[in-house]
């Protein structure tokens, strides 16, 4: 038995991982309609109610993922807007031709990843009937294959690059209706898939980082939710599991560890089940009579509402359902995951009973009624008849798989680095051609144009600005990482201030101001340029730059106004001279007594009066001239 210890020998277990990255593109229009690619928080102007039915194949077979979704018989409500979204998103108008801007960004990425571009792009329909796509399918097409990437752990093949549409945004679920917003539906996405050759979490991180760097060199969206990562994980004897929504690359190692653990535990459970000759009966039993007077609130409530209390027998499963497969999650949690998809809140199982108001006496009665043997277990569900039945059928299906091993699944990454069941792994068979969109030839002219205009990769960019502007390694790195190189170059060109000063403000000062709670992200570049111009013209001192920006942000005014308000504007030479003449005149006695020896004390007086408004060197020079003039 393998303990959940810290040191897992991934290689020995045959861990294989593949990465799937989804990146939103920052195009002007959506992939198949002219709507803008922006999300909105505005209240929807109207809602569209829809159902989805899977279309069957010639064998009477439906894709298993699609089929399971359809069993839930969900109603979907789509938030729509007369301006922000159009009839294409609500599936009331055929798609417009493929967005050429998105295609070109895809070709740029394909080229940067050294991939082979297809000669003709075919838009496909991938059946997805969880409501996230109004048509019941996601439009997607394969743009390029077979790129590669070198990592310290070895070479990774980039298998596929697909151009596809993003799904509608899930807003919640109410009374059996799942609510989506149409704003996100149709935003162009690139899907980049690696081969499943990675065997260490660090390698996955490195690949994700490198792909991220390539993506960021082109017109992609930034910020939360604009890039999504899925991870394929399998171990020898285990099964391929696709973990959706790995948000944080830092917690990925723990996630991999927990998933590997889960698969190992499931294999242990399989071995034990086989040893016991475990068997899942197909029968579903009605326990309504036995539990009609139960104190269990959940069951009593279900019965009161006209629901049913149903049960199944899992022969040979006793003790294994309560077995932990991930920290805080049991094999029973896995079974419950399947049941919940059919709409029940949860299941009760032998290994946790008596509990939840179900007494030991009741457990005995049930055991007797179901003829439960020493190693046998039962599962109990209380809900509307059809829902309860569907849920138990799902549990039976999942329990049977347990004797075979680990099922292939799509799972969702949880915040605690565990994963939870989402749906079966979709089969390749859910693809068919989108007949509403003509195939698109990728001409050699287009490819050549793309190749001739490739963007600078981050590393190239860094080397260039070090070279061109004499910036330090650290400053350049920060500018590249924070994606401020373009801004930096524009400001330097616009104000003529020494590049390091500009770079340091962009890389560090702004970060500090943001930390102080100022809305730095909406500061227009023109105000940055204006502030630096004041510096260049000698109107403010270098020390005042940060204060002026604070003034601009707080009062929402121009840099000049801010500098004036804060009394940070430098005085003109004439004004400074006037003040110095005055100082010298009012200290006449000291000047006559000490001659040039009065320089020191008078400099102190002058600087006190002119602090931040005049350059010290100038004050010094003028004071010296004035004393000399006076002595003459």
């Amino acid at each position: 038995m393998i303990e959940m210890d810290e040191n897992i020998d991934y290689e020995k277990l045959g861990l294989m991982m593949g990465l799937e990255i989804h990146q939103q593109l920052n195009t002007t229009k959506k992939l198949f309609c002219p709507c803008e690619c922006e999300l909105t928080d505005k209240k929807p102007d109207y809602r569209v109610l829809r159902y989805l039915r899977p279309t069957q194949s010639e064998l009477g077979k439906i894709d298993r993922a699609a089929f399971e979704e359809s069993r839930r018989e969900l109603t979907f409500l789509y938030d729509a807007y007369p301006q922000h979204t159009c009839l294409v998103e609500s599936d009331d108008e055929p798609p417009h031709p493929l967005n050429q801007e998105a295609l070109e960004i895809g070709l740029i990425i394909a080229t940067l990843l050294d991939m082979q571009v297809v000669d003709e792009f075919h838009t496909m329909r991938k059946q997805v009937i969880d409501g996230s796509n109004t048509g019941g399918f996601q439009r997607t097409g394969l743009l390029a294959i077979q790129g590669h990437m070198n990592t310290p752990y070895g070479r990774v093949v980039i298998e596929n690059l697909c151009l596809e549409e993003d799904a509608a945004r899930r807003m919640g679920q109410r009374k059996g209706k799942v609510e989506f917003r149409l704003d996100r539906l149709g935003i162009p996405l690139l899907e980049i898939t690696t081969d499943p050759s990675m065997n260490h979490p660090e390698q996955v991180r490195e690949v994700a980082y490198q792909i991220g760097q390539v993506l960021r060199s082109t017109k992609v969206k930034r910020g939360l939710g604009t890039i999504r990562q899925d991870l394929n994980i399998s171990i020898r004897e285990g099964a391929r599991v696709e973990v959706k929504g790995v948000q944080d690359l830092d917690s990925m190692e723990q996630l991999v560890k927990n998933e590997v653990m889960r698969q190992l535990k499931l294999l242990e459970i399989r071995d034990e089940l086989r040893k016991r000759g475990a068997l899942v009966e197909n029968q579903i039993y009605d326990l309504g009579e036995i539990l009609q007077d139960t104190e269990s609130k959940i069951i009593a409530k279900a019965i009161k509402k006209g629901g049913k209390v149903l049960s199944i027998k899992l022969n040979g499963y006793k003790g294994l359902i309560g077995k932990e497969v991930q920290p805080g999650r049991r094999f029973g949690t896995e079974l419950a995951g399947y049941a919940k998809k059919m709409g029940v809140a949860g299941i009760f199982h032998t290994d946790e009973l008596p509990a939840y108001g179900i007494t030991s006496q009741e457990v005995e009665l049930i055991n007797g009624f179901l003829e439960i043997g020493e190693n046998d277990a039962f599962i109990l569900v209380a809900d509307e008849g059809d829902i309860a039945r569907n849920a138990l059928e799902e549990v039976q299906r999942r329990a049977k798989i347990a004797t075979e091993g680990v099922p292939e699944e799509t799972r969702k990454a949880l915040d605690d680095a565990n994963t939870e069941y989402l749906r079966p792994l979709p089969t390749a068979s859910r693809m068919y051609v989108e007949t509403d969109i003509p195939t698109q030839m990728v001409s050699s002219e287009l490819l050549e144009r793309v190749r001739a205009n490739l963007p600078e990769l981050p590393e190239e960019k860094k080397a260039r600005i070090i070279n061109e502007y004499g910036l330090s390694e650290d400053l350049s790195h920060q500018l590249v990482r924070q994606d401020r190189v373009k801004q930096f170059e524009e400001i330097v060109a616009g104000c003529g201030v020494e590049p390091t000063t500009v770079a340091s403000l962009l890389a560090y000062t702004l970060k500090e101001l943001r930390r102080e709670g100022l809305d730095v992200d909406n500061l227009p570049d023109s105000h940055l340029v204006g502030t630096f111009q004041l510096l260049k013209q000698g109107k403010i001192s270098k020390d005042a730059v940060s204060d002026v920006l604070v003034g601009v942000l707080k009062k929402n005014c121009t840099p000049e106004e801010a500098a004036t308000n804060l009394n940070l504007m430098m005085l003109s030479k004439e004004d400074v001279k006037g003040i110095i003449i005055e100082i010298v005149a009012s200290n006449e006695k000291m000047v006559i007594e000490r001659n040039m020896g009065a320089m020191g004390p008078l400099m102190g007086t002058a600087m006190k009066q002119l602090k931040g408004k005049a350059d010290g060197k100038l004050v010094n020079k003028l004071l010296k001239e004035e004393i000399q003039k006076y002595l003459k």
Partner: protein, 441 residues
């Protein structure tokens, strides 16, 4: 296969056919997958491959090294027949398909979409229909609705009549949406029916999970079981999948190129709505023919040579002359406003009248009725023998003229038929409720 020219030559020379697994090497990269057929209108330079991932890609044959890996079976759809027993407790509803694909089956192996034509196909795709009625189905033709012709209206009417004669309690006609309203009007005039005749279709093809076909079909079955023995159109009234509207066949028109709620009743409220399988009359005062009130009758003689002309600012009289010269037996004009056309057409209209060719005047406004007494042009048109069509839709008036000319060739009798309300296609009264979807529901 649909490959042509160079691609076809190449594939034949390599003994590669559709369904075979092949390998294509280009610039050091290998693509493996199944050869798929190519659209007939596509170029000859590429072949289509379905990769293991399910994606199709097009690959140029130039500079490619192609190898046959394994011969495949040509994908064929072969489904076992269904074994369905008639439930005597349920009503019998027949579904006649004219080519609109209310149900489809996807061949996942190739990704091809096959329309479901037979009753079995239909029931496989929508088994829920059997909960509502005994369903029998027949595909009588397979044409796109834009290719409909008056002779196909007759064919459809006869097929519907056959079903009724064989005991159907209601008949559903699955139809493409483009000209559904013409067929609805045609069946209205051709047939006297003791049972409901419901025409339905889909704005989103049935190969997609979001298709409106399912709800339209289920609602049509409910309608076919109702006591409204008229020719009606059953389609979505909103963008939502929660109910259907029943439009009288002589009052309905397709009003949007793509929306699900494209069909509207014009100059009239819809007859009924169907929600959760229940048919509810919208306006209780609205009279309709009830089940069993009349005997089945088919008056299917039509005159196909009827011209349909839209008046517009640049129209020339020669357009009318052409029709008269070519022996057209009737003309339908979609006039402007209250029912006008430029007065320089009047000599040609007079000529038509002299040759006993009925000329009907409708309005391209669609909403409202013609009135040729208000302006001098109108009065001149009346003197030239033009017959105003009142609040009849242009398409309906056209179909009515085609039918009327089939019943009689005498101008006076045609005029009388046109001016008589036969199937609810006209009404003396205009209501403020009838304009642009304001049904006050």
């Amino acid at each position: 296969m649909s490959y042509r020219g160079r691609a076809k030559q190449f594939l034949e020379s390599q003994n590669i056919s559709i369904g075979d697994m092949i390998s294509i090497k280009k610039n050091g990269t290998e693509y493996r997958g199944m050869l798929l057929d190519r659209a007939e209108d596509a170029d000859q330079m590429h072949i289509v491959l379905k990769m293991d991932s399910g994606y199709n890609v097009g690959l140029a044959l130039a500079e490619a090294e192609v190898k046959l890996l394994e011969k495949g079976d040509k994908p064929e759809i072969n489904l076992p027949p269904l074994d369905i027993h008639r439930d005597p407790g349920k009503m019998d509803v027949s579904i006649i398909s004219t080519g609109g694909t209310v149900a489809s089956i996807i061949d996942y192996k190739t990704g091809a979409v096959h329309p479901a034509f037979t009753a079995d196909d239909l029931l496989r795709a929508t088994p829920e229909l059997l909960d509502e009625a005994n369903i029998s189905g027949k595909a009588i033709m397979n044409i796109l609705s834009e290719n409909m012709k008056p002779e196909f209206w007759v064919q459809s009417a006869c097929a519907v009549a056959d079903e009724i004669n064989e005991g159907a309690d209601g008949v559903i006609v699955a139809h493409g949406t483009d000209t559904m309203h013409y067929t609805a009007a045609a069946l209205s005039f051709i047939m006297e029916s003791p049972v409901p005749i419901v025409i339905t279709g889909a704005q989103r093809s049935s190969d997609r999970p979001s298709s409106d076909a399912f709800l339209n079909l289920m609602s049509s079955v409910a309608m076919a079981k109702s006591d409204i023995a008229e020719v009606t159109v059953c389609m979505h009234p909103t963008e939502n999948d929660n109910k259907a509207h029943i439009h009288r066949g002589t009052r309905v028109r397709k009003m949007h190129t793509s929306r699900r709620d494209t069909f509207n009743s014009i100059n009239s409220p819809p007859l009924a709505k169907v929600k959760d399988g229940k048919v509810k009359i919208i306006d209780k005062k609205f009279a309709y023919h009830k089940r069993g009130e009349c005997q089945l009758e088919v008056n299917d003689s039509l005159e196909e040579k009827v011209g349909f002309i839209k008046s517009y600012p640049g129209i020339a009289a020669e357009l009318l002359d052409y029709h008269i010269d070519k022996g057209y037996r009737g003309l339908l004009i979609e006039g402007t406003g209250l029912g006008h056309c430029p007065d320089h057409l009047i000599p040609s209209l007079q000529r038509a009248a002299d040759e006993e060719i009925p000329v009907l005047m409708t309005s391209q406004c669609l909403y409202g009725r013609t009135n040729l007494n208000v302006y001098s042009t109108g009065r001149k048109l009346l003197s030239a023998g033009v017959i105003p069509a009142g609040d009849m839709l242009p398409e309906v008036a056209y179909v009515k003229l085609v039918w009327a000319l089939g019943q009689t060739s005498k101008l006076e009798e045609v005029k009388k038929i046109i001016e008589t309300n036969l199937k609810g296609e006209m009404d003396e009264k205009s209501s403020s409720k009838y304009f642009l979807r304001d049904y006050g529901e």
